[in-house]
Structures are given as structure tokens and as C-alpha cells.
């Protein structure tokens, strides 16, 4: 039984990776375009980072776009002012998002539930206003411009990820794979188990002597690091960073992706991101009233598929 279960898991995993690897080949014939695939990966990674906190620690942050946006600005500022290096940009973007998260986390971790959500939203908006107002540094409402991702230089050879969209897709996929691996590793570690314990029953965890606040703070900070990295990738994708990426509506989209895909599963948010991004891309080309459809999607998922797509599939297969 267990063997069969594991085998199936492996097959699914292999299937996901084959699909992801072949995106530039099957997406365009189906009416998509490779850049859309890249976007799904980046936003998928962001949704997985949100879910790292939401699904595996049970803490609802509704302001995670702030760290995503900080990652984007970090990467952009690094490319614009420091050095023309894509990897440095990714690193600095991740650091900016993560450190800001670590700092604010100390103010936030003692709250729970709705209050946690409200405080994270409000603090997220602080960064939105900073990006929006500090126009001499961030470009304000017009966004941060005047940088572009740089070819990857390996000394002997370099890979052009700027003009070749397929190359860039594979670069993003590579980054995504590393982050997913790290995330998976953490979740399997004793620390990850503790996170689950907190999610399942915080009071019991506390009685067992687990320093709950510290664990939540670490989980929050880690997820902000992942978020910052995703944001940095987003800046490379657009060659651009703008305040909308920090806004709480963006946070809402991320949470939605996680819930829609299935927040109790590792890959759920990626699936959610894929469905969300593709659907929004399609709808907004077909009708100006796409916002209503996205809104209806939110309502429908909440009322009828609260466990998300993967949750439904799993339920079906178990029944």
C-alpha cells in the first residue's frame, strides 16, 4: 500500500517536471506564449511561499506582496545602481524581502487569526507607500525603470537570457527548482514538523514546550525570503518594478492562488497560480468585465472548493 502510494507520488512528481520542462514546446501551439509560462512559475513560487506560512504553519498573512515587491525593487535597484549582474540582483532582492520580513515579523508574530491578517496588510501597505512616495529612488508611481536582466556569465561562456525568452524560461525554472527543493527540505526537517504541529494545535504545541512565537517568526521570515526571491525574479521578468506589486490586492491574489490550488499540498499553489494567471490572462483579453469573473471565481472557490483543486482531486481518488 505504502509502496504503491509512493510510486504514484513519484510518477506525479515526474509528470510535473516533464510538463514544466517542455513548456516552450506545448504552450505556444495551445494558444499560450512562453512568457506566460514564465509568469506562472514566478507567481507560482510566490504563492508557494505564502502557502509555506498559510498552509504549513496555519498563519494567515495578507500582506505578503510587500516582500514580493521589495524583492523586485531590491533586484531592480541592484541592477540599476550596483552592478549589471542578474545573480547579484536575485540575491539582493531576496535579502531585502527577507530582512524586512524578519524585522516586521517581530512586531507581528504575537497576533493570531484575523488580527494577524489585518496587521500584515497594514504593514504591507507601509512599503507600498514608501515605493509610491519615494520617487527619487523608486520612480514612484511610474515604477523603477532603466535596468534589464543581464546575460549569465560563466567565465568560459555566457547565456543570453534577455532576448531569448526560452532561455529565460529555463533560467527561471532552474531557480524555481532550487527554491522548491529548499522549501521541501525545510518542510521535511524537524522544524517543518514543528510547524505542522503548531498549525494543528497551537495550544498543545505550547504545552510541549515549543517556543511557538519563535517558530512562527522563523517561518514568517523564511517565507519572506522565498517571497523576496520570487519578487526579484518578477523584476527580471518585466525588467521593471512598480508599486502595484506591493499592494494588498496583489497579496490577495497570492492567497487566492494558494487556496484555489489546495493549501494543504506542496504543489497546490503552483497549480492555483497556473489556473489563476492563465484564466486572468484569457478573460482580460475577452471582456473588460474580467474583474467580475475573477471575483466570482473567488466566491466560488471559497464556497464550493475550499480545499482547492488538489483537495477535490484527492477526495475523489480516496473515495
Amino acid at each position: 500500500m505504502n509502496d504503491r502510494f509512493n510510486a504514484r507520488k513519484l510518477i506525479v512528481l515526474a509528470g510535473i517536471w516533464v510538463l514544466l520542462l517542455l513548456v516552450p514546446y506545448w504552450m505556444p501551439p495551445l494558444g499560450g506564449y512562453t512568457a506566460l509560462g514564465t509568469r506562472v512559475l514566478v507567481l507560482g513560487l510566490a504563492a508557494m511561499s505564502v502557502n509555506f506560512l498559510l498552509g504549513f504553519t496555519g498563519v494567515l498573512s495578507f500582506g505578503h506582496a510587500a516582500y514580493f515587491g521589495l524583492g523586485a525593487y531590491g533586484a531592480g535597484l541592484s541592477l540599476k545602481f550596483l552592478a549589471p549582474s542578474s545573480s547579484l540582483a536575485l540575491l539582493l532582492g531576496m535579502l531585502l524581502g527577507g530582512l524586512a520580513g524578519a524585522l516586521l515579523g517581530t512586531l507581528i508574530v504575537r497576533r493570531r487569526g484575523v488580527y494577524f491578517a489585518m496587521v500584515t496588510i497594514a504593514f504591507g501597505q507601509v512599503f507600498y507607500y514608501i515605493a509610491f512616495q519615494w520617487s527619487s529612488l523608486t520612480g514612484g508611481d511610474d515604477g523603477l525603470r532603466g535596468f534589464s536582466r543581464q546575460p549569465l556569465d560563466f567565465g568560459l561562456f555566457s547565456i543570453d537570457i534577455l532576448s531569448n525568452t526560452d532561455n529565460f524560461y529555463y533560467f527561471v525554472l532552474f531557480c524555481f527548482a532550487i527554491m522548491a527543493a529548499v522549501m521541501g527540505f525545510i518542510l521535511r526537517s524537524p522544524f517543518g514538523r514543528t510547524m505542522l504541529a503548531i498549525r494543528e494545535n497551537e495550544r498543545r504545541a505550547r504545552f510541549l514546550g515549543i517556543p511557538v512565537e519563535r517558530h512562527i517568526w522563523i517561518a514568517f521570515t523564511l517565507s519572506c525570503f522565498f517571497m523576496g526571491f520570487a519578487g526579484a525574479l518578477y523584476a527580471l521578468l518585466n525588467n521593471f518594478a512598480d508599486p502595484k506589486g506591493l499592494h494588498f490586492t496583489q497579496s490577495g491574489d497570492f492567497v487566492m492562488m494558494a487556496v484555489m490550488g489546495g493549501m494543504r499540498s506542496f504543489w497546490g499553489p503552483l497549480l492555483g497560480a497556473a489556473v489563476f494567471v492563465v484564466l486572468q490572462d484569457y478573460l482580460s483579453s475577452v471582456t473588460v468585465n474580467w474583474m467580475s469573473f475573477v471575483g466570482i471565481l473567488f466566491v466560488a472557490v471559497v464556497l464550493f472548493f475550499p480545499r482547492g483543486l488538489l483537495g477535490v482531486i484527492r477526495q475523489k481518488s480516496e473515495a
Binding site: 511610474d142 515604477g143 502595484k244 482580460s284 475577452v286 473588460v288 468585465n289 466570482i296
Partner: protein, 420 residues
């Protein structure tokens, strides 16, 4: 537990049905974005159809659609019909860039129009330049687009902020007085507009009593208005746009400030005036195009044609921007008998718009050096009481030719880099 699942199943189905029904209504509604034809030449438009610029963006789309209709009725471009694909940038740079890529990579459009938001327009220009696609910026005013960030493939129909300042400054100074106070939206567009106004004021020998920087999206202007009134200027220049301007002018009227200080501004739009109550419609402004131009050929027919397509609403400057953007492409492509972007961009230098496109008395052409359209400035006064037609909310006193108020090409900071 089972019961709960059952009821969920049932509800899911009803909701799906409702959603499908709602979808059918949506898709049958008149604002369906695209209809496709086989051998058509595809052109793309990216504009913020949702969000704070939705009203002006939708007018640009109406104008562009009408232009396509008119061109196709006259035989299309190079004998092929035009097909316009409209995408919503949702007033978000990331989305705008993504939609531009989608139009170019997937839909293979040969021409791009957009965006109302200067920031998005500039980000789009990065993409269109990289992909070597001809691009007309229909509604973003920041100087850089045809200034220091200019590109060989990017042309602009609407004015630069400096032009807007140049066209009003003299009249304001002579008519209203020489002590000016600015209320400036705190972002790139506002800063350049204010700097241009201030430079003109200095040149004329006036003084600035102050400059209030208001964050974009400010709803309450009273703190700034208190300071402005305390400075006791002759003229209060209101530079915010869209809903910020509406809020600001509404509060100015309620405070009675317009009875003590002359209220004016640089750029004004019909969309904004229509959103204001009568008492807030005051002051000297510049319009980039106005629908009432007695005696100018083709204007009346254009107004009548647009009215038929927009529930009786008259065209605004935005409608004309959308219209002109598409017409530019069709006319230059038919003239050059090619769709090659570099050749068309070269031909557009000093390209003059025909009478039935320019819809204004003066000569109207794209400058070769910075790719800026030299279009007239309509300077006049906002009307508290409409003059006849309920949408006639502006009295045009002067129509100034574009090349009189645009800074010389050498001053724009633009140097075009053509592809090898």
C-alpha cells in the same frame, strides 16, 4: 459529513449554471474585445480599461475602433482589413508589459498603441523597441517619451507636459496676474508639468508663492488649500489629473477660494469636467482637442459618427488620440506600401496628417527629431453653465499651432538610435 458533501455537490452545479449564464450575458454585451479575420493586419492596443483611468482609456478605444471601421470601409491597409486587438493593462505596469508581449509574440501584431499611464507607456516602449514594432503612445504625457528616453520606433500623439505649460502660461500671466501658487501631484508627470510652468513664470518675470506636492490619490486637499490661500497668490494652478483634480476643484469651490483667487491649470479634459458639479468648473485651461470647432472641415461629421457609437456622447481629446493613432498607421503604411517598421518610422518623420484625420485648423505633423506630434493647443475657459449642448463645457478662446508651443527639437534631449 456525507450530507455536507452532498449539498456542496448540488450547490456547485447551480453555481456553475449561474456562472455560465452570467458569462453568456457578458460575452453577448457590446464590449467584446476582439473579432478575428483571416488575412487581416493585426494591430494591438494596450490601455487601462479598468482602474482610475478607465474613463479616458475607454474613450481612446472608441476612437481607435471607429478609425479601424472607417479604414476598412475605404479598403483597408495595402488591400487588407485592419483588425484591432484591445488588451487591458489594468493600470499595472507588469500587466501592461505582459499584454504587450502577448500581442507581439502570440498575436503577431505589426503595430502597438498605448498607454494612458506614462509609466506603462515607457515600459511598453522598452518592449516594442526590443521587438522592433512601430508604437504610438496615445495618452501618456511625461516628457521623456519623446525626450531623453525617446526611441526610433515610438511616436506620440498627445502633448508633452512642457507643451501644455507653454500654451497656457502667457495668457494666465497677462489675464490673471504674476503671483502663482502650484498644487502639484507628487509623481513624474506632475513634477515635469510644474517645472515647466515655473520656468515659464520666471521667464515672464512673475513669482511663485509656493508649490504644494500632493500624493497621488489624495482625497482631501483642504490642508494644501489652507496653505495656498494663506500665501495669497493671484493664480492657483491645479495640476492633478483625473479624480484627484475633480476632488481638488470640488473642494476649492466649496471653500469659496475661486471667489478670491483665480483658479486655473495647465491640462484639462472633458472627462474630468463632466465628473464635476457646475460650481467646480472654473478657470483657464488647455484642452488637447475639443469637439466644437465651427468651420473646421470634417469635425462635425466626426462628432456625429462618434455619437452614434458611444450612446450619444461627444468625442473627447482621448477619442481623437485613439482615432489618430490608428489613422497614422493606416495612412503611412498605404503611402509607403509596406509594413516594415523601420521604413514606416522613417517615413513618419515630418509626416503630415490629412484634414479628415487632424480635425483642427492648424498643420499637424510628427516631428522627425523627437517623433512628437505637433498638434494644436485649445486654450480657453471652463464653463459653469454648459453653452447649449450639455457636453459643451469649455469655451475655446485660442487655437495655437503645435510648433509654436513645443520646445525646439534641440531642447527635448532626444537623440534617436536607429537599428543597424
Amino acid at each position: 459529513m456525507t450530507k455536507e458533501i452532498l449539498s456542496t455537490e448540488f450547490n456547485r452545479r447551480t453555481v456553475l449554471k449561474t456562472a455560465v449564464a452570467a458569462g453568456a450575458v457578458q460575452i453577448a454585451s457590446p464590449f467584446v474585445i476582439s473579432a478575428r479575420a483571416a488575412d487581416a493586419i493585426k494591430i494591438g492596443m494596450v490601455d487601462p480599461l479598468t482602474g482610475v483611468y478607465a474613463a479616458v482609456a475607454q474613450n481612446e478605444v472608441i476612437g481607435a475602433r471607429f478609425a479601424v471601421e472607417e479604414i476598412n470601409a475605404k479598403g483597408g491597409v495595402l488591400g487588407r482589413p485592419l483588425e484591432l486587438l484591445v488588451e487591458d493593462s489594468a493600470n499595472d505596469v507588469g500587466t501592461g508589459v505582459q499584454k504587450t508581449r502577448k500581442l507581439i509574440e502570440r498575436d503577431q501584431v505589426s503595430f502597438i498603441i498605448g498607454d494612458v499611464n506614462s509609466g506603462i507607456a515607457q515600459a511598453m516602449a522598452q518592449v516594442t523597441a526590443e521587438k522592433k514594432i512601430l508604437h504610438v503612445v496615445s495618452g501618456g504625457h511625461t516628457d521623456g517619451i519623446t525626450g531623453k528616453d525617446c526611441k526610433w520606433n515610438v511616436f506620440r500623439v498627445c502633448n508633452t507636459t512642457r507643451t501644455e505649460a507653454n500654451s497656457v502660461s502667457d495668457i494666465l500671466f497677462n489675464k490673471y496676474g504674476k503671483k502663482w501658487h502650484f498644487i502639484t501631484p507628487d509623481y513624474a508627470f506632475g513634477h515635469t508639468l510644474q517645472q515647466a510652468g515655473e520656468a515659464n513664470l520666471k521667464k515672464l518675470g512673475g513669482t511663485m508663492t509656493g508649490n504644494e506636492l500632493t500624493p497621488l490619490g489624495t482625497t482631501d486637499f483642504s490642508a494644501y488649500l489652507i496653505k495656498a490661500r494663506a500665501a495669497n497668490p493671484d493664480v492657483l494652478l491645479v495640476l492633478p489629473q483625473g479624480s484627484d483634480m475633480v476632488n481638488c476643484l470640488k473642494q476649492i469651490a466649496q471653500f469659496g477660494i475661486d471667489k478670491q483667487i483665480h483658479v486655473a491649470g495647465l491640462q484639462q479634459e472633458l472627462e474630468s469636467l463632466e465628473a464635476m458639479p457646475p460650481e467646480a468648473r472654473v478657470g483657464i485651461w488647455m484642452f488637447e482637442w475639443y469637439w466644437k470647432q465651427p468651420g473646421v472641415p470634417h469635425v462635425e461629421k466626426f462628432v456625429a459618427d462618434i455619437r452614434k457609437r458611444s450612446n450619444g456622447k461627444v468625442p473627447t481629446a482621448r477619442t481623437w488620440f485613439g482615432f489618430t493613432s490608428v489613422q497614422t498607421y493606416a495612412h503611412v503604411a498605404n503611402q509607403e506600401k509596406t509594413l516594415d517598421a523601420v521604413k514606416l518610422a522613417k517615413a513618419l518623420g515630418n509626416f503630415q496628417l490629412p484634414d479628415d484625420v487632424k480635425l483642427q485648423p492648424n498643420k499637424c505633423y510628427y516631428r522627425a527629431g523627437d517623433h512628437q506630434l505637433m498638434t494644436s493647443a485649445f486654450v480657453g475657459e471652463a464653463l459653469t453653465k454648459p453653452a447649449g449642448d450639455p457636453e459643451d463645457l469649455f469655451r475655446v478662446d485660442q487655437v495655437i499651432a503645435g510648433d509654436k508651443v513645443n520646445p525646439p527639437e534641440s531642447d527635448t534631449g532626444c537623440s534617436l538610435q536607429w537599428p543597424a
